[in-house]
């Protein structure tokens, strides 16, 4: 197992190098640079050309992008994540503030979608063809069929404004201290994001469950006289868990990137919003570090998926 993980990590290094280089190159291609996004157009209009040049000089934006890339890489290797061009705040601090919010939101949403998706998928497979299957499928599909921001806004309108059960948005309020008080803020965004991710898990669970239910060992299990629910869940679902785990595994990166749309609609101070603003303002340092974290999480996720499949399915050997 350890040998396998080491091999995977070594494999990651060249990938990280290529991807960060590509991101830097693409970021440099976008029109304008960090300076042109520093302030709103009217203020910018009042600056003279020399002042603009001087500003560019201070951020070292004038040397070719390859030089800038290696300068950034050098800094990274020394563990210095650099400063946000627009606010001067160290990038590590910005991430330290916004990452927990995204982890909390995306984490809960992933949990909701995995649980809900698996239950709906298994129930749909067992009750295939009946009305129940159709109703569950329609319910599962709702998430993936309605655009997220539209679904979010309607939920705010209904639950926050009309029915007033839940707060309108934001992550918390200084006056709210209890855990449940804070939880109240999480319910709406996490369930909107969760429901929109459910359909994928549901369909995967349903398909793999259908495949498993036709297998021989299910008939053997039934011939052993064990209760129907054990046959379906312990024997059936346990085997069809693997593709579901693979799908959820490949969704881990959303833990880092978060969902820009949900975070914007629900005023959630997550990485999604920060990253979206940073990319549009060509805020190099911030974009590179978040992208780096994202790519590490993607490669990490694929390793986790391999290990999990090996654990779940004894037939799969790790170092194959």
């Amino acid at each position: 197992m350890l040998k396998y993980i080491l091999k995977k990590i070594l494999g990651m290094i060249p990938m990280l190098f290529i991807i960060t280089f590509l991101i830097y190159f693409l970021l440099d291609l976008t029109p304008g640079d960090a300076v042109s996004h520093l302030m709103d157009p009217e203020a910018l209009a009042r600056l003279s050309a020399e002042q603009l040049e001087a500003l560019r000089e201070t951020y070292g934006l004038n040397d070719p992008f390859v030089v800038r890339y290696f300068k950034w890489l050098l800094q990274l290797v020394q563990g210095n994540f650099g400063y946000s061009v627009s606010s001067g705040v160290p990038v590590s601090q910005i991430i330290a503030e916004s990452l927990p919010a995204t982890l909390e939101l995306s984490g809960t949403a992933l949990l909701i979608s995995t649980l809900l998706g698996s239950i709906l998928g298994v129930a749909g497979a067992i009750k295939k063809g009946t009305i129940g299957d159709n109703v569950l499928t329609v319910f599962g599909m709702i998430g993936v069929s309605i655009p997220q921001f539209f679904f979010g806004m309607v939920c705010i309108l209904v639950f926050a404004l009309n029915l007033e059960w839940l707060p309108v948005g934001g992550r918390t309020d200084p006056s709210v201290v209890s855990f449940f008080g804070r939880l109240k803020y999480l319910i709406l965004p996490a369930s909107v994001l969760g429901i929109s991710l459910t359909a994928g898990v549901m369909r995967y669970a349903r398909t793999s469950m259908l495949d498993t239910m036709n297998k021989e060992y299910i008939r053997t299990a039934r011939s052993k006289g064990i209760p129907e629910w054990r046959v379906n869940l312990i024997h059936g679902f346990r085997v069809s868990l693997t593709p579901v785990v693979v799908l959820v595994g490949f969704r881990l990166p959303t833990l880092i990137a978060g969902s820009v749309v949900i975070e914007t609609v629900f005023q959630w101070p997550g990485v999604g919003q920060v990253f979206n603003a940073a990319v549009r303002a060509s805020n190099y340092n911030l974009v590179m570090i978040v992208a780096l974290l994202f790519v590490i999480m993607v490669l990490f996720a694929s390793t986790i998926v391999d290990i999990l499949t090996a654990i779940l399915d004894p037939r799969v050997k790790l170092d194959s």
Binding site: K215, E216, Y217, T220, R222, G225, I226, H235, V239, P314
Partner: protein
Amino acid sequence: MQDQTVISVKNLKTYFYTNQRCNKAINGISMDIKRGKTLCIVGESGCGKSVTASSIMQLLPKLSRIEEGEIIYHSEDRGDIKIHELERNGKEMRSLRGQDIAMIFQDPMTALNPVYTVGWQIVEMIRAHENVSKKEAKARALKLLKDMGIPYPEKRIDEYPHQFSGGMRQRAMIAMAMSCNPKVLIADEPTTALDVTIQAQIFELMDKLKKEYDTAIMLITHDMGVVCELADDVAVMYMGNIIESGSAREVLKSPGHPYTKALLKSIPILGKGANQDINPIKGSTPDPFNRPTGCQFAPRCDYACDKCNEAMPEENQVGGTHMVRCIRFQEVMADGK
């Protein structure tokens, strides 16, 4: 004689409703499975022999059902149980499965759940029917594996099915089936997927079960060699009907139905040298959706005549338990070719 019968099947009809069509898989069969005896059901593939086993175990697929007829299990303590009336996966049927009637399947490769250890699956079977502690159940499973002749059972019990060879896996299957010492063991072509040397070991093992545990065995096969070796009673099936049944000696010595005779002639007998003349049966089994009128075997039968095409021949009793469904059975028996 009567009290020896464990399961009696009377005029069983099972129809399949897949692909929006109705396929009469079993068209009225009757048989008795007796304690300590091996009943062999033999026939080409597609004649409905596996469906019989599934009907008895109520393991039929969703889109099929038992139309008519009875399956009665004569249990010692709970009197006669009408299996055909039981709810498919109901509580009572499930208590029968595994405890009173156990079943092993054809392809050991896919019959065991790949993600659980062999030991775990046997323990699950034991604990499903008797509330014994996990430790005790595991000990029993270990003993069972040893009885079935699996080497190093202590190590093997915690291994996964894919680490077992074909023969070993079938032995594990039998161990599992026998874990609650069932009254009846139904084996659905247990050795077809195994090579010959392993086949002999499995049959030897089944014979031992019959003698030691007095279990009734219903063996389904398409290989006449197996029938000659193991069978106490034989039932030859063709297109959903039993066309000939009786004690092995009667049927093999003097087959009354052209199909049985042809089957016997089409297998090479060990040791009879290279130049045996083996002549296969001409034609192939007809399409179940447009069955020939009258005797189902008529199109492929050497003795076929006009009368054969009128109606399905009735059951004629020839001597003790020997039954033949052919109007010209005397000629066939006399022929003695």
